[in-house]
């Protein structure tokens, strides 16, 4: 399937105008020794129907009916209007809004996103998104090192292990030392071994953490006291802030994490939505794109990209980050989702998630399961099963019972599960 519109005659005419005899002449600046003599070894071109046939065939075995997998990517319902609106070519096929006069759609949607996210997280500002939660977290930690000029950072072991791996990768580059804090028996970060904060750039804690436990983030500001150490609050389940306090309420300097729960499909882990919100004092230090309100020549309110002097295309090696794009289309999905739900919807949906998870948790315990941690949770928890071999039966029914971590299972329960689903889970594993 070709997407080229030229006829042979068009090509002839164009070559004539250019003043060359053949297309290959246009490549004369490439040394002959580098030019390929034969065609690339690729499969023969497929027609549209052959392509869809192949894709339907290989994808048909993927995924399962019901999945209790979470751990950073969540199984939430996506209202049909979201993919419908984001498939509009004006959103889908445009690029970075460099020309604000013909990009107000993207710009206003991103400004609305920045606003909703700031309020949802209780933070001063949000940028217009990062690649994903893990890279957003890593950038947050790099920021803390830049502003404190310190190269030691403290992180909780309760942070998603993939995020910690990404952080380690980034810290290898930036030459930062990572100090990890263990969890206590309740599953919360144990601050008793916190080092002297004199030369610590930041403390990062995730809540709900990887094991689903709500952290005591109210302890962090008092621990930091008058040190210049930044408090970075990480999240992978943004919907939890419909029930639990958001990072801003605990005085976080940076709130960063994943926004996939806001109407974005799982898609094997990407693209998702890196969220980066911050205290206004770091405005000129933050990575990523920012959309600001301004006026046009006639005094009409409008929006444009702003504070670009932080960014790589202007500041080059002195930029706050090398990031040069954002997750524009995922931002549009998220703001559509948020505008359908608003605060009341987010609270209600969060409560449904919480109730469902608490119900399954309770029933699993009744069936002999044991919680790994005693701390309160939102929609995800970690248990050891009485008879784990029975979980195979669930899999045979097309249900993934959770994510196995050693002897434990991390189970995420969202609004997509009915009581019938949850009771079935218990029935199969041999509940009372």
């Amino acid at each position: 399937m070709s997407y080229i519109s030229h006829s042979e005659d068009d090509i002839r005419k164009m070559l004539q105008e250019i003043g060359v005899d053949s297309i290959s002449e246009l490549f004369r600046s490439i040394p002959e020794t580098l030019k390929l003599s034969g065609p690339l070894k690729l499969p023969p071109a497929l027609s549209e129907w052959e392509l869809i046939d192949y894709m339907e065939r290989i994808s048909s075995g993927d995924g399962v009916n019901k999945s209790y997998l979470g751990g950073g990517i969540y199984n939430h319902y996506i209202p049909s209007i979201i993919p419908y609106l984001t498939s509009r070519s004006e959103f889908l096929t445009s690029y970075t809004p460099y020309q604000p006069e013909i990009s107000q759609g993207t710009l206003q949607a991103q400004f609305e996103f920045q606003t909703y996210i700031s309020y949802l997280l209780g933070m001063d500002y949000s940028n217009a998104s990062m690649y994903d939660g893990a890279t957003s977290f890593a950038e947050g930690v790099l920021l803390s090192s830049r502003v404190t000029k310190s190269n030691k950072v403290v992180v909780s072991r309760g942070i998603n292990p993939n995020y910690l791996e990404v952080l380690k990768t980034y810290c290898f580059g930036a030459e930062l030392e990572i100090i990890e804090l263990e969890l206590d028996s309740s599953g919360k970060t144990d601050f008793s071994k916190l080092p002297n904060l004199e030369d610590i750039a930041s403390i990062s804690v995730q809540s709900p953490n990887y094991y689903g436990v709500i952290e005591d983030q109210d302890k962090i500001r008092p621990l930091i006291g008058s040190y210049s150490t930044l408090f970075i609050s990480v999240f992978t389940e943004i919907l939890s802030f419909g029930l639990y306090k958001p990072p801003g309420d605990y005085g976080a300097d940076i709130a960063c994490g994943e926004g996939q729960s806001l109407g974005i499909s799982k898609s094997y882990g990407g693209p998702s939505l890196g969220i980066f919100a911050f205290n206004q004092k770091y405005l000129r230090q933050v990575p990523g794109r920012l959309v600001g309100q301004t006026l046009d020549k006639n005094g009409k309110r409008c929006f444009s990209l702003t504070l670009a002097t932080r960014e790589q295309h202007i500041r080059r090696e002195r930029a706050t980050s090398n990031i040069c794009s954002n997750q524009g289309l995922c931002v549009v999905s998220a703001i559509i989702y948020l505008s359908l739900l608003g605060s009341e919807g987010i609270k209600k949906l969060a409560k449904i998630n919480f109730n469902n998870a608490e119900y399954l948790k309770k029933r699993i315990i009744e069936a002999g399961g044991r919680l790994k941690y005693t701390g309160e949770t939102f929609n995800e928890f970690c248990v050891e099963f009485h008879q784990p071999e029975r979980l195979k039966k669930l899999e045979e029914l097309g249900v993934i019972p959770g994510y196995k971590i050693g002897n434990y299972y991390l189970i995420a329960v969202t609004e997509k599960f009915s009581r019938k689903d949850l009771d079935e889970y218990i029935d199969v594993i041999g509940g009372s």
């Binding site: 096929t93 580059g173 990031i323 703001i335």
Partner: protein, 482 residues
């Protein structure tokens, strides 16, 4: 039609809902946690209101489907609609990244095969699909360089970067703790071997080269430059931002490049989405394979699997498997094009750019005389004399219904604009573009004020971007409903 659309929180009380809640079937659990949230307010709206709001916003945007989108260095080609349908197949869109490999054979096959195709296209030995964007791929490559020299116990602290490079290059190198040394291109727009030789020594980890460069020219001495860098023990990074004109023409690996990123959203036609998501896979030569991000995707003859056994890897660079559905669309594109289709793409992309170049050379200053590849660099030198700038030209294009090229880039040429038509523009479309540019050149002479006032036909007129930066307003005020 020209209409206003208020911000969400200006659209009335916002107390309805557009979300279809499931029945609450399980007993309520009450919590008395001290961490429960206090009240907060964000407005919500019914589905029809939301549909209309975002549809109206969308009409203020210009996309590739609207008309030619000739942003240089961005390769705004047509995005086939079949890709969107494929990305929404349930098996792909509903796949969880933590599900076992046996539930992910389709997704893994896509990742594996796309990697194989990219290796063949670039002539490289190995690949990672984790990087989420081109700049992310640059970062991955610089981290690999760093790890490579660390393993060899060589203390190399500097990276050479031509002055014409994208800003992401120096920014990526800096994030890895490298010092950046800027290498000047010559007056023909080329990076010269003798200049590189002068800068190259044992303290240099390597060089980052974009080829074709940001001036739209092929670097004819690429092989010699790579040889010089290698002879002093350094590595060469190839920025693949401009891969489109090389498809099926050369293999980048044959030039001596050790690592390069590929912007799937450019060359392999995945939609740019108003700024992303993209994907920036990195291809490497054998000597860097061990350092690629972990996990990698492997095939054992029967099954595809994630391989975590990479002790020398730089580690993970993405929370999960990179921007999978972007990779999926690029894979679809490669499969629908085949080798011949890809070669045709590079040919027509270069033909289109040179056609525009020839037709506009009389009207706009072209700073470099060498043949263009897939994009053409102009400046406002002729118009500046009569007080018209590159910005005015760009805004004049908007009034004529066309998206401007990339302006004031690259920085090394003053007041430049870089125009990349891509292979998808028909001759008719190019002629339309050319006529418009000529019309602007004429208007600059006889009615320049009109250009300075442009645009007047867009939904808003020229935007005060200085004001946005001087008084940053980054969020609106939502009044609480206490």
């Amino acid at each position: 039609m020209n209409y206003n659309e208020p911000l969400l929180w200006e659209k009335g009380e916002g107390l309805t809902t557009g979300y279809s809640f499931p029945k609450e079937s399980v007993p309520q659990t009450e919590s008395n946690s001290r961490h429960l949230r206090d009240n907060f307010f964000l407005p919500s709206f019914s589905e029809p209101v939301v549909a209309r709001h975002f549809t109206r916003l969308s009409t203020w945007n210009y996309g590739v489907d609207t008309d030619i989108y000739p942003l240089g260095s961005c390769t705004m080609k047509y995005n086939p609609k079949i890709h969107e349908r494929i990305a929404q197949l349930k098996g792909f869109s509903d796949s969880h990244p933590l599900q076992d490999d046996n539930y992910s054979q389709g997704a893994l096959e896509i990742l594996y095969k796309t990697g194989e195709y990219l290796k063949e296209i670039t002539g490289m030995d190995d690949v990672t699909l984790q990087p989420a964007a081109g700049a992310h791929g640059e970062l991955v490559s610089m981290l690999m360089f760093k790890k490579y020299f660390k393993e060899r116990e060589e203390n190399r602290t500097t990276v050479l970067i031509p002055d014409s490079a994208h800003g992401t290059n120096p920014a990526s190198a800096t994030m890895c703790g490298f010092k950046v040394k800027v290498v000047p291109i010559n007056s023909d727009g080329y990076l010269m071997p003798e200049v590189v030789e002068k800068y190259m020594d044992e303290s240099v980890a390597g060089i980052m080269i974009t080829n074709p460069g940001t001036l739209g020219l092929f670097e004819p001495y690429i092989k010699e430059i790579c040889d010089i860098v290698h002879s002093k023990g350094g590595l060469v990074y190839g920025d693949g931002a401009n891969l489109n004109p090389l498809l099926g023409q050369i293999k980048v690996g044959d030039c001596g490049i050790d690592a390069m990123h590929i912007n799937l959203h450019k060359t392999f036609s995945t939609p740019h989405g108003g700024g992303g998501p993209g994907a920036g896979p990195v291809c490497v030569k054998k000597l860097l394979s061990d350092y690629l991000p972990s996990p990698g995707v492997k095939f054992n003859g029967t099954n595809y699997y994630m391989d975590y056994n990479n002790p020398k890897s730089i580690g993970r660079v993405h929370g999960f498997n990179g921007n999978f559905s972007v990779v999926l669309k690029a894979c679809s594109f490669i499969l629908s094009q085949g080798a011949e289709g890809l070669k045709k793409i590079s040919e027509v992309a270069v033909l289109n750019a040179n056609y525009v170049r020839v037709k506009l050379s009389e009207f706009y200053h072209i700073p470099y005389s060498a043949d263009s590849m897939h994009e053409v660099l102009f400046t406002d030198k002729y118009q500046k004399k009569i007080g018209i700038s590159t910005l005015d030209i760009a805004k004049g294009l908007i009034d004529r219904g066309i998206h401007p090229p990339t302006i004031y880039f690259p920085l090394v040429v003053s007041d430049a604009f870089l125009l990349e038509p891509t292979e998808n523009e028909s001759l008719k479309s190019l002629e339309h573009l050319i006529d418009i540019f000529i019309d602007i050149a004429k208007e600059a002479e006889y009615n320049s004020q009109k250009l300075k006032d442009a645009p007047t036909k867009s939904v808003i007129n020229r935007v005060d971007e200085t004001l946005a930066a001087r008084h940053p307003v980054l969020k609106g005020e939502i009044l609480g409903r206490d």
